[in-house]
Symmetry: C2
Subunit: 403 residues, 2 copies
């Protein structure tokens, strides 16, 4: 497997555009992304478990129940179309219908997604009148337009693409994502759109996406807030020409899954790194858990802790907050078996504090990526979680008017 | 029932002191509190459910298992004596033993409590050599010395006392508490010490304390962090002279419980108001829940939300974040039944956004106490939760070296 350029247009047959409809207050920013596959693509998705779900997400769920094949994804940023009542659903339907008409496909082949402020009606005319332009500008040439058009408080676009060999054919997977605040995905995440030209059955694709999501988007947190609009969507159009992967036991599925998981982890880390106000990426490598579920709960709880996050911002090796976050996570632990280190520097070993070099700790904490290694001493399971520091700018961004 | 002065020394037979042992970096601050009852007192307590428990908390649990009567509480601030290994337990025992010797009582009649930085060995000599002075300065005269000596990042001491009539006798309840960060009590809370001269059985006292804690300390959150040292302890020395309350069905128990609950809620609100960096107290009045448990989860989840907290700091009526926090709380809700208002101002009514007066909303948000009224439309249960806003100062306090 190797990393390639081209993000969502790297796989064969995918085109994308990012255009400007004027939804955001800063009216110079692109706010409509369109992704299109020349062939109908097998689709799989993960959605938020927040019980308050945005209208576009509910509509996309309906479309996926009607057909497992999608051909287009229309996305707007600047407005989440969540908590907008019946008007919200009418607006989501208008987005799907207008896109379908312009592309001459069925409405149920269109996924709809929105991100931005909650509770404000969509400026739907601005979006529908822009869709013709979005279609005109569809292109397979490498660019970041779609990745840019889905950004809200993000500070950089978040693309990735890889290719691998499957049964003698070259298969590509591309992805873009966004997300900066309200990030604590539950069974799904903020927006991520992944394209691939692999030929694969819907069941095998959904299974791969679920496992990859559990190890990636589900292992990041910015602020412990699960959004109303979280969605990971993958389209597989089969144009790589490999024999369709239908068994999750096959080596071909395994190769595809590993590449997909790489893509998902890369996208998830980009989100954590770009957490609202963040100056540092926090990586928690957790080992010695009784179960994988325990490992994931403990690792993510450490990344979620406001006190751990503030200590990393302050470049203070305040390991006691890590141990407290583990103890409060709800999993069974024995404090006397817990060890914590910062890179190679032991801070706490089997329940006993270690006298450590404070100057060295501070140097390690000045890096852009801060890695903690935590061992629970309970078993063999391990995992990694990602988060970011808590800074003045997180407060500033979220205290400002209706972000 | 009426509010009286004197806090923990208001009930008959209780003395207290707050002295200076030199534990804190700011060496002018009092850091040792001692509470003493002239008669052995029936004791009940709630402890943190964090699985990483501080040594003094484990020792106090042992003492309460050996005897349900306590006569003294020794507390230090500036150091939590948590995650300090075997030395931590030896130091907690030394605090109990030295206090017991100075007061000529048994070590198991002494509760020990510590609060402050995690993972640093106690300067135990400073504490033990100070205990003679702590005993000498015991006084029943009204003062805030003990309330001040238990403070860490608190900005004001937190006392309360009430009196009520029980079967013809005047009964008093006094309390002090501390807590400012690492506040998201789980089955107990940060330090709170409550005294009363009521005559009551241990079972009736424990039951009253549990119910009162559920409605008070368990309904506040500052930062979603459950501490290693949370403890609520009540001592009842019986000196009011009432016939011992032994039945939780009796009107006398009900009168005592109502007064105790008032004390606990008052103390809990003082903690939320003094949350690290806070400028505003947030009150969430939640109604229309199917169960009391659901009401409590939803109300506390709103108060815990970093995004809701930041919006209140920014004086922005961003109700979408409240609805999202409800949806993510894990309880069953129907978005179309949810209503949210800020004081009397409707923001969201039965699933539909309401056009509201933004200027009026901003005026309401400029108050020191911000009240949201949330109705889930699912049933008849209701509750209140308290929190505080998320400010630059929360980050500043927790990013600074080893608080």
């Amino acid at each position: 497997m190797k990393i390639i350029t081209g993000n969502i247009c790297a796989p064969k047959g995918f085109l994308a555009s990012g255009t400007f409809a004027g939804i955001k207050r800063n009216a110079t920013k692109k706010d409509v992304a369109l992704i299109y596959s020349e062939e109908p693509a097998v689709a799989a998705a993960m959605f938020t478990t927040n019980q308050v779900k945005a209208a576009p997400l509910l509509l996309t769920q309906q479309h996926l129940q009607q057909t497992h094949k999608l051909q287009a994804v229309i996305v707007n940023s600047g407005n989440a179309n969540a908590c907008t009542g019946e008007q919200g659903m009418r607006d989501a339907i208008a987005m799907a219908n207008t896109t379908a008409a312009a592309l001459k496909i069925k409405p149920e082949a269109v996924a709809v997604s929105s991100t931005g402020v909650i509770g404000v009606p969509l400026p739907i005319e601005k979006i529908t009148s822009n869709i013709g332009q979005a279609v005109d500008q569809l292109s397979a040439t490498e660019n970041l337009d779609a990745a840019i058009a889905i950004m809200t408080t993000d500070t950089f676009p978040k693309p990735i693409a890889v290719e691998c060999e499957i049964a003698g054919k070259t298969v590509r997977i591309g992805g873009i994502t966004k997300g900066s605040g309200m990030i604590h995905p539950m069974m799904a995440t903020m927006l991520a759109f992944i394209t691939t030209d692999v030929a694969i059955s819907q069941e095998a694709l959904q299974h791969a996406l679920k496992l990859a999501t559990d190890a990636s988007f589900h292992m990041i947190t910015v602020d412990g807030e699960s959004s109303t609009n979280d969605m990971v969507l993958i389209l597989a159009n089969g144009m790589a020409g490999n024999a369709e992967i239908s068994s999750i036991e096959s080596p071909e599925w395994q190769t595809f899954f590993q590449a997909l998981q790489f893509v998902c982890i890369d996208l998830a880390k980009q989100i954590a790194k770009d957490g609202e106000g963040a100056t540092k990426l926090i990586e928690v490598h957790l080992s010695g858990a009784s179960t994988l579920a325990d490992a994931r709960i403990a690792a993510r709880n450490i990344c979620r802790s406001s006190l751990v996050k503030a200590a990393v911002f302050g470049e203070d090796a305040n390991w006691g907050r890590i141990v407290s976050a583990i103890g409060a996570s709800g999993i069974v632990v024995h404090p006397e078996k817990i060890s914590v280190s910062l890179e190679d520097l032991n801070l706490f070993k089997q329940g006993q504090p270690v006298a450590f070099d404070e100057a060295l700790a501070r140097t390690l904490l000045q890096e852009k990526t801060v890695r903690f290694f935590v061992d629970l001493g309970m078993g063999e399971e391990k995992t990694t979680a990602w988060g970011c520091d808590l800074t003045y700018d997180y407060v500033k961004i979220n205290a400002s008017y209706r972000t």
